[in-house]
Amino acid sequence: MLRFVVRRLLQLIPTLFGLSVLLFAWIRLLPGGPEVALLPENATEEQRQALRQSMGLDDPILVQYGRFLGDIAQGDLGVSTQTNRPVLDEFLTKFPATAELAITAMIIAVAVGIPLGYFAARRRGGLLDMAAVTGSLVGICTPVFFLAFVLKVVFSEQLGIFPSLSRQTPGIDATSITGFHVLDGVLTGEWDAAWDAIMHLVLPGIALASIPLAVITRMTRASVLEVLDEDYVRTANAKGLHHSTVRGRHVLRNAMLPVVTAVGYLAGALLAGAVLTESVFNFGGIGQFLYQATQERDYPVLLGFILLIATVYVLINMLVDISYGLLDPRVRVR
């Protein structure tokens, strides 16, 4: 098992390395080169030269890449042109908001999707099944931003149940330790702050959960259907085991394997969906900041965030792989 974990950890290196190459190539491949992105359209040849000089664009490409890699290794991803703060700092301060939101969404998706998928599969062709199948299809096809907007209008503007924006009621007394508001509230015992943070998470969490929820429901359903047909489930039943044992140990446990993998790549969907959801809910995480960066052509942030998000994504997938290894003894071998 340890070997497996170490192996997976080491496999990160080529991926991250490849990522840096890709990003670097991408900057260079921008039509007209990076100066087009950084200089005004009517820039003079002199300005161009000066920029090329200062960015070392005339150095051999390998030297440039080496410098790029060196900077990254030192955590230097440049400075945001919007805020003038280092990109890494921006990311680190905004990450907790997005992480909190994404985790909420994932919890919703898993907590609702798995039971729903399971019961849909058990009552295949029944009413619940039809509802789950159509519901999840519609869920996948509904643009996140529209859903977010509708949720806001209904639950916040009309019914006034949940707040319509941000992570926290302004002016609430909350101590910040980790940047995760709910966690902070629990750690410090500021229960009202924790509750406030939870209330703020509900609507964006649901909006962001829509796609993962749909995917997990469908996947659970398909995979439960498949597992129900497996010989070992028949064996378990032949042993006269209680229904609950069969369901938990023999059906769900195996049916969860593909779902676990899905959680990994859904993390990507969550990070992407955060761009839209956070903007609608003014949530102030990396998604919204990235959106502002696209608006203001904040290239250092765009590229830096992409690199960091991809790293986070790769890390999540590695964790998912490792937990998959924990769940499925067969993959540990390799």
Partner: protein, 318 residues
């Protein structure tokens, strides 16, 4: 003598029912037959057909110029006064006094265009990458394995970038335009297609019929092209259908984020939806129409894709 043939006829009659006619049905055709019986496919295909027709025949269907603000004297967005459905404007007017119905119709064209171009882009680039990797890994020995490893590493890395995020960044770097959206959405699909085709090809490469073909003396190139590829395309076609749906949603999202066509007059569902949210209190339908259009169209493609997936599923093939 006659007694014997009677007897044979009788038995033949009884067994005939199972012997079926001897006209061969290819797997594709069988799938298609199954597809035609699936309600999911029927609904999906109808939506898709209507959508494509509307998109192609938009100019004929649309009763008015979707860009001309012909009735702008009748609409006062600043006072929340809008014009709802009426005989000459089936879906009413938008906030600029344009015929909403015509805009919806012409908007379909943008969506189709983005969807098709992005999918073709993603599919062709992905298929080339995946096809080369798959062929190399399946048959190519040591060097093939290395080529495959290199390509798949690149694809892994691309896969590490969440698709919409990749699209947003591409769009931001290239500047807003329709072409940007197509490229962005297309590029995001490349790794998915590549993986899919490679996986599917590898699965096929291990099948006995491939071995049989090379045992017969078929050249490697022909094995790939004539045996492995056609059998691997099923999932790719399914995915392409699904991607068409996704592309329409993603394109709407990009337009919503302001990364689409910078000309706001050109009707595009995502932009229309983003725009209309401002008038939710006065004219909620302005937002609802494009939203429904996006959902229904994407749903149509998704249903069709899912139905195709089911009809191609070997498990259902008896």
């Amino acid at each position: 003598m006659s007694k014997k043939s009677d007897r044979i006829d009788r038995l033949a009659e009884l067994t005939a029912a199972r012997a079926e006619d001897s006209e061969g049905h290819s797997v594709w055709r069988e799938s298609f037959h199954r597809l035609r019986r699936s309600p999911m496919a029927i609904v999906g295909a109808s939506v898709v057909v209507v959508f494509v027709l509307v998109a192609l025949l938009g100019d004929i269907i649309a009763p008015h110029d979707p860009i001309s603000q012909s009735w702008r004297d009748e609409v006062f967005p600043n006072r929340n006064e809008f014009v709802g459905p009426r005989p000459e404007n089936l879906l009413g007017l938008d906030n600029m006094g344009r015929d909403q119905f015509s805009r919806m119709v012409i908007g379909a064209r943008q969506s189709l265009l983005v969807g098709v171009v992005a999918t073709v882009l993603g599919l062709s680039a992905g298929a080339v990458l995946g096809g080369v990797a798959g062929a190399a890994a399946g048959l190519g020995g040591v060097w093939g394995a290395r080529l495959d490893a290199v390509i798949m590493r690149v694809v892994d890395v691309m896969l590490a970038l969440p698709t919409l995020l990749l699209a947003v960044t591409v769009a931001a770097l290239l500047g807003p335009s329709l072409v940007t959206v197509m490229i962005a959405v297309g590029v995001a699909q490349v790794p998915i297609f590549a993986r899919l085709l490679r996986g599917s090809m590898l699965a096929q490469a291990n099948r006995d019929y491939v071995l049989a073909a090379s045992a017969v003396g078929v050249r490697t190139r022909r094995i790939v092209v004539a045996h492995i590829l056609p059998n691997s395309l099923g999932p790719v076609i399914v995915q392409a259908t699904l991607v068409l749906g996704i592309a329409i949603i993603d394109a709407a999202a990009l337009s919503y984020l302001g990364l689409g066509n910078p000309d706001p007059a050109v009707p595009e569902w995502g932009t229309m939806l983003a725009d209309a949210q401002r008038f939710l209190s006065g004219a909620p339908e302005l937002a609802v129409y494009p939203a429904l259009a996006i959902i229904i169209t994407a749903l149509g493609f998704t249903l069709l894709g899912e139905a195709m997936r089911e009809s191609l599923d070997p498990k259902l093939r008896k």
